[in-house]
Amino acid sequence: MTEKSLQKQNSTDVKARSLWVDAFRRFKKNKMAVVSLIFLLLLALVGVITLVIDVVTDNSIYDQLVISQNLTQRFETPSSAHPLGLDEFGRDILLRIIWGTRYSLFMSIVAIIAAGLVGTVIGAIAGYYGGKVDNVIMRLMDIILSLPYMLLAIAIVAALGPGLVNVLISIAIGYVPEFARIVRASVMTIREREFVEAAKAVGASDKSIIFQQILPNAMAPLIVEVTMAIAGAILSIAGLSFLGLGIQSPTPEWGAMLTNARGYIRDAWHITVFPGLIILLTILALNIIGDGLRDALDPKLKD
């Protein structure tokens, strides 16, 4: 950036140079994080496009290319027509991965946003009111946390049965305590600050103090946790599906694709390698973005 444009920016939007603008500048310098972000945005874009295609064509493309079997061409290795090859039922693996984005990426996002909202409210209440309320809420959260995450998710799916919504619920519940803890900690440090006292002095209600004064200031750690949690959720959804408890074949969920591949490990390498690779890349990208965000939002923490 040239000096002139920098000056211009400084003079025109001094107000906008908040924490977020500064953080974005620092984030931009982290090349790995920017590449990861672009990868993720592209993946999300592709996912949205498939949703639009399905709506417009009334699932006919989905049924034809992603679900319908073509046994004469099964296990065909990667070629120019099918860059990632065909699977055990002769379906194009690349298309299945692309159509699977919604189950892995979008479902994880939905689950984590749900967990984040619930956890935020719980944590804010605990942190703001303190005392007995805090004690009761946080002990409950501790109990959920003292179960291994995967065991909790498996137990919930076992009780509710497999299926999209049930997987969402089982993934979300395990992350609620994590968010509650983070928000509670932030709220406890922020509620003693002067601007909160000032808001109280002018007679603001508890609700408006929590949502308008405190929560915006607790956003930074929350956003970092959301990024990391989405990565964790993708892994869990894939894991549950791999165990046959999550999303079931022939739905092209990435983990479910691996379940089937396991049976044909002696016949073809590509049906195992690619679905796993896309899971790895997505989680890697999210983790790098999360690390980058943490460094950008709180430079003191770096190293």
Binding site: R139, M150, F242
Partner: protein, 328 residues
């Protein structure tokens, strides 16, 4: 010291009650009528009513939980709906296999994670550090069930060196253990490595390291004794946590390698809709996990003399009050 241990054990009781209630709540209140599961769809109304009475389903949740836990404490985890076998002997039969696998997994993770973490901290900002950092990131992001499949592909299918599934007996145990242990251990190794690195970097910056160097001690000795020993607490924590996770979450690895462990048994019971077996396995795994966490906490006091010293210098009650005040 003993007081500390006893106190930690007593603090454990509410957690165990909470955890067991949560597991019971999730699994015992699942939708669907268990009597139909047991008696079949054609069962008569009277038989179902009688069965509901027998299973105590008409009682409220707390009574049912209390009854179940009273039985559990006497070693009675119930009877399978499908096979009519007792749950506890089944669970106890599969658990040692999970334990063997988890121990092997954590051993692999420690052998990989700790040395690489130390090396990468000692060589901070060199290419070695960069490579290991990237490997660590990949290791954490790797779905371990996928990594397991890749290992099978390479070592069983292509090279034919190791068995791809099952648990060998006697001499055959070791080869059958290698791939599952590697699968389980790699993800943990990455976490342990990252923690070792940052903890070592922290202790490298302390003044006593400069003192040690100016005394003319050898670098290797300083690394081992002055740096590593002081960096140990967070490393032990992460190892303990990971081990607990392995015990509770080995289901995936056990499924890939058809390892006859408790996790895989639980998954199969879920598929067979055999709730007493699922509840028994989940309960057993959850309680074991809590106990492992307790042991890790107690281990701290042994690893870190400061915790012990703190306790001795203050005397039990006073210290408890101080901690309580801090927590508030």
């Amino acid at each position: 010291m003993h007081r500390y241990v006893i106190k930690r054990i007593l603090m454990m009781i509410p957690v165990l009650i909470g955890v067991s209630f949560l597991v019971f709540l999730i699994l015992a209140v699942s939708p669907g009528d268990p009597t139909r599961m047991i008696l079949g769809q054609q069962a008569s109304e009277e038989a179902i009513v009688a069965m509901r009475e027998e299973l105590g389903l008409n009682n409220n949740l707390f009574v049912r939980y209390f009854d179940y836990m009273a039985d559990v404490l006497q070693g009675d985890f119930g009877v399978s709906w499908k096979t009519k076998l007792e749950v506890l002997p089944q669970v106890l039969g599969y658990f040692p296999n999970t334990l063997i696998l988890s121990l092997a997994g954590i051993l692999v993770a420690m052998l990989i994670g700790v040395p690489i973490g130390i090396l990468s901290a000692k060589k901070q900002y060199t290419w070695i550090d960069n490579v290991t950092t990237v490997l660590g990131l990949i290791g954490v992001a790797m779905p371990n069930f996928w990594f397991g499949l890749l290992l099978v592909m390479l070592f069983s299918v292509t090279l034919g060196w190791l068995p791809s599934s099952g648990m060998g007996e006697g001499v055959a145990l070791l080869p059958s253990l290698i791939l599952p242990a590697l699968t389980l251990g790699t993800g943990c190794a990455a976490s342990i490595m990252r923690m070792t690195r940052s903890s070592m970097l922290e202790s490298m910056r302390q003044d006593y390291i400069d003192t040690a160097r100016s005394k003319g001690l050898k670098e290797g000795y300083i690394t081992r004794v002055h740096m590593f020993k002081n960096a140990l607490i967070p490393i032990v924590t992460v190892i303990g946590l990971q081990f607990g996770m392995l015990l509770g979450g080995a289901a995936l690895t056990e499924t890939i390698f058809s390892w006859p462990g408790l996790g895989r048994f639980m998954i199969e019971s879920i598929k067979a809709k055999d709730m007493p077996m699922v509840l028994g396995s989940a309960m057993f795994l959850a309680l074991t996990y809590s106990v492992v966490n307790l042991l890790v906490d107690i281990l701290y006091a042994y690893v870190d003399p400061r915790i012990k010293a703190q306790y001795h210098s203050m005397g039990g009650k006073k210290r408890d009050r101080k901690i309580f005040a801090k927590a508030k």
